[in-house]
């Protein structure tokens, strides 16, 4: 029996490696003494272990039992120490039957069930959100995308976390360059822990310091499916309820899944509303600074007088007023995000109503400023994807800075600058800001390019 010492050694090695772990189990099974199992209690489903491994071992002879174990889907016969170690750490059970080693899938997976999406809520349409389990996520997407062309490539990232990452694409529609680039960038990642889609987004994007997101991070399986059909690549991760979609261009961040559901004209209107919201939230405070401090003559005389009258009691220049109020608003948003649900409304009441009312009456800020700040805050939330909403939140300070230093010219010049910057950006080689973009996949008869 040449392999025997080897198998024995494997078992001993494994025991040696795992001794000291609090949930380590080592048991002999059956009456013959030829069967032995090793596993980690916390990762395995104890019911499965009892019903499918322990009990049958006393009901069959060793040969039957070996066949029985091997017949389970997911069971594997192995000789590789490294693989044994990895699988035991995942929740497999190591079983030695006479001279052969088997790995038996008894993973226990704890996750919150499929819930409806929170960060990208819509009015009508599917509500499922991705879960924190990759199997279920793949299932959610497969169910919506029943094509044999859907390719799923698994890989592992993270030296310690060993996160399973899955690259999904439609083989007949995907842009080859993007796919190549994605594979390359994923293979270049070297980190210890990977546990959020945001981190992954950072690792696979072009520049380290940038302000606009170049990949969509979504929790909606229907958005993933929609993008797969458009020839894009989706990356899903285990333990994370979000998918990363690339390439993504500026317009993608202003698309809600509602747009497809609504009537065409209504959908366009909604999109227009979002862009107007973007424009307002970015420029309103800057315009306020420029109009009050630099170019009051531009507005209609009535409006100028209105603003001047409202600002009569305010003792400092307009940009301090603006920055002060905007900061208060940011604090309010941050606070209501972090506070426990029970106290949350208090913060908004105290901050929004009392502070706003009192500040104007005290003459610290003008009434119009309060209106502008609320308009800015509300129109910021119009942007459907969170990453972009946060970007826009930062962006307005850049405009305020230039408005405070150069006036209206500063606003126009820095807006041109933003357009230029956006035009210079690429998402996986695709232009980020192109008004009429070429689609990666057009219609049925077309061949994919690239």
């Amino acid at each position: 029996m040449p392999t025997k010492p080897n198998e024995q050694k494997m078992e001993e090695w494994l025991v040696e490696q795992l001794t000291g772990l609090m949930d380590f189990e080592e048991r002999s099974l059956g009456n013959s003494g030829d069967i032995k199992m090793i596993y980690l209690r916390s990762l395995t489903d104890s019911d499965t272990v009892k019903r499918f491994i322990v009990v049958p071992s006393y009901e069959m002879d060793v040969q039957e039992y070996e066949n029985y174990i091997f017949s389970f889907p997911g069971s594997e016969k192995t000789k590789d120490r490294q693989q044994v170690m990895e699988f035991v750490m995942k929740g497999y059970i190591f079983i030695r039957i006479k001279d052969s080693s088997y790995l038996f899938d008894a993973m226990k997976i704890e996750f919150s069930g499929i819930s409806s999406s929170i960060t990208e809520a819509i009015v009508q349409g599917p509500n499922d959100a991705l879960t924190e389990n990759i199997e279920i996520n793949v299932n959610l997407i497969r169910r919506r995308y029943q094509s044999k062309q859907l390719r799923i490539e698994p890989l592992t990232i993270g030296n310690v976390s060993q996160t399973t990452v899955v690259v999904m694409y439609d083989d007949s529609r995907v842009d080859r360059d993007v796919l190549q680039e994605m594979r390359k960038r994923l293979s270049e990642i070297s980190v210890d822990i990977l546990q959020s889609a945001g981190e992954l987004e950072k690792f696979i994007s072009e520049r380290k310091y940038r302000i606009f997101p170049t990949t969509v991070v979504t929790e909606r399986p229907d958005r993933v499916v929609f993008n797969l059909a458009a020839g894009k690549v989706a990356v899903l991760m285990n333990t994370v309820g979000y998918a990363v979609i690339a390439p993504s261009v500026f317009n993608d961040f202003f698309t809600a899944m509602d747009d497809k559901i609504q009537l065409p004209l209504v959908g366009w209107f909604m999109k227009l509303i979002r862009y107007i919201g973007l424009f307002l939230t970015v420029t309103l405070p800057a315009f306020y600074v420029a109009f009050t401090s630099y170019n009051p003559e531009i507005l209609k005389i009535q409006i100028t007088l209105l603003i001047a009258g409202s600002r009569a009691a305010v003792p400092y220049p307009s940009f301090i007023e603006v920055v002060l109020m905007l900061l208060m608003m940011e604090f309010l948003i941050e606070a209501s995000l972090r506070l426990p649900k029970a106290i949350g409304p208090t913060a908004t009441t105290v901050g929004g109503l009392i502070l706003g009312q009192a500040a104007t009456q005290a003459g610290l800020v003008s009434n119009i400023m309060i209106i502008i700040v609320s308009a800015v805050a509300i129109s910021n939330f119009v942007i459907p994807l969170n990453m972009m909403a946060f970007t826009v939140r930062v962006l307005k300070y850049y405009l305020i800075f230039f408005a405070a230093t150069f006036g209206l010219i500063g606003i126009v010049v820095s807006t041109v600058g933003i357009v230029m910057y956006l035009s210079g950006m690429r998402s996986f080689g695709k232009p980020y800001l192109e008004i009429f973009p070429k689609r990666a996949y057009q219609g049925k008869g077309d061949k994919q390019h690239g």
Binding site: N295, V413, G417, V419, M420
Partner: protein
């Protein structure tokens, strides 16, 4: 590689931006001496040059002028040619910038120091002219799509104004049959020169096949007529010569009663500021690429060295513009602007000849 619609954007921005340069000035100076005839002549001339140039350059898919010249002409001919072209493009951008600074001080913010304004503009332009050729085209598209509705609005507003004097316009039209002067032809044909930007931007086009070419003479004619006649309709045939920045004074005469911004001048100024900046970026990008084309014959080592050379070139261009900003008063600037318009036309013909010769030589070799 981009769609050919971007060619039309290059044409459009040049046609729209001429108002800021000295084209209206030249035309209005010659309004009794053949300005209208020169418009007609330059429509024919400009369209012909445009068609010839685009036809030839489409035989060099994806190639820019430096590559074409290096490939087909000896170095002692190519080098001075590239120098001349780079200088012309640089000046075209610099004049737009300097005159815009002057306009800014005169119309918008008399209290902002000119140094501040020029430095602000230059910062943006220098940073952006190092972008990729395609990126600049995308930015150009976005800018035009945002600004064109505004321009259309102002134009309609200008034309339906009851105080617009159609009689003055009619009077100018009676001077149609006058032999035009060279400088007004040179000025008027300037609006067609968007196509010369292909000298570098051809790198982004796979092979240029233009459709709807009839739109170019038609839109060019409309633009030129508007350029000349609208200010005359507002200021009168004689009064118009007293304005330096004719179009800005014209825009200032229009009032938009029901909008938040009452004086159309401001909308006009800001949309033209945005477009001019992008147009300067286009021109300086070309100048920069041409300079790179003749300076860096051998491949520069590394990205860092290449970007350093970019900065040196741009630094020189910036310094030149700042000097222009300080040295030129309004009279000198106007003279220089008109001189540029006069020199530009032969320069354009020279460019055409260069490309033609290059094409012949390549064909012979093939």
């Amino acid at each position: 590689m981009v769609n050919e619609r971007y060619f039309y954007y290059l044409f459009t921005i040049q046609a729209l931006i001429n108002i800021v340069n000295f084209v209206p000035r030249v035309l209005i100076d010659n309004r009794f001496e053949g300005a209208l005839m020169s418009i007609l002549v330059s429509v024919v001339l400009g369209t012909t040059l445009l068609i010839i140039f685009t036809k030839i350059i489409s035989h060099f898919p994806g190639e820019g002028l430096p590559e074409i010249i290096h490939d087909t002409l000896p170095r002692f001919v190519g080098l001075p040619l590239l120098c001349i072209f780079a200088f012309l493009w640089y000046e075209s951008g610099a004049i737009t910038l300097v005159s815009f600074v002057d306009i800014t001080l005169r119309f918008i913010t008399p209290d902002v120091s000119p140094v501040f304004a020029i430095i602000g503009f230059l910062l943006l332009v220098t940073m952006c002219s190092r972008l990729k050729t395609e990126s600049i085209l995308y930015a150009l598209e976005t800018t035009l799509i945002i600004n064109c509705p505004l321009v259309a609005y102002m134009l309609i507003k200008a034309l339906i104004n009851p105080h617009f004097s159609w009689d003055a316009v009619m009077q100018i039209i009676t001077h149609l049959w006058t032999i035009p002067k060279y400088n007004s032809i040179a000025g008027a044909s300037f609006i067609f020169t968007g196509y010369v930007n292909l000298a570098i931007f051809n790198r982004a086009f796979k092979s240029l096949k233009l459709r709807h070419l009839w739109m170019i003479p038609l839109s060019g004619l409309m633009v030129l007529l508007v350029t000349l006649l609208v200010p005359i309709g507002y200021h009168g045939t004689i009064g118009v010569e007293q304005q330096v920045y004719t179009w800005f004074s014209t825009a200032d005469a229009i009032r938009s009663e029901f909008f938040i911004v009452e004086r159309v001048l401001f909308i006009f100024y800001f949309s033209y500021l945005a477009m001019s900046l992008v147009s300067v970026v286009v021109h300086w990008h070309i100048a920069l690429e041409l300079v790179k084309g003749f300076l860096m014959k051998k491949k520069t080592k590394g990205v860092k060295a290449a970007s350093n050379k970019d900065w040196w070139t741009l630094g020189l261009m910036t310094a030149g513009t700042v000097w222009m900003g300080f040295y030129f008063d309004q009279a000198k600037l106007t003279m220089f602007g008109q001189w540029f318009l006069n020199v530009r036309l032969p320069g354009e013909l020279l460019l055409l000849a260069t490309v033609l010769v290059a094409y012949r030589r390549r064909k012979k070799r093939a």
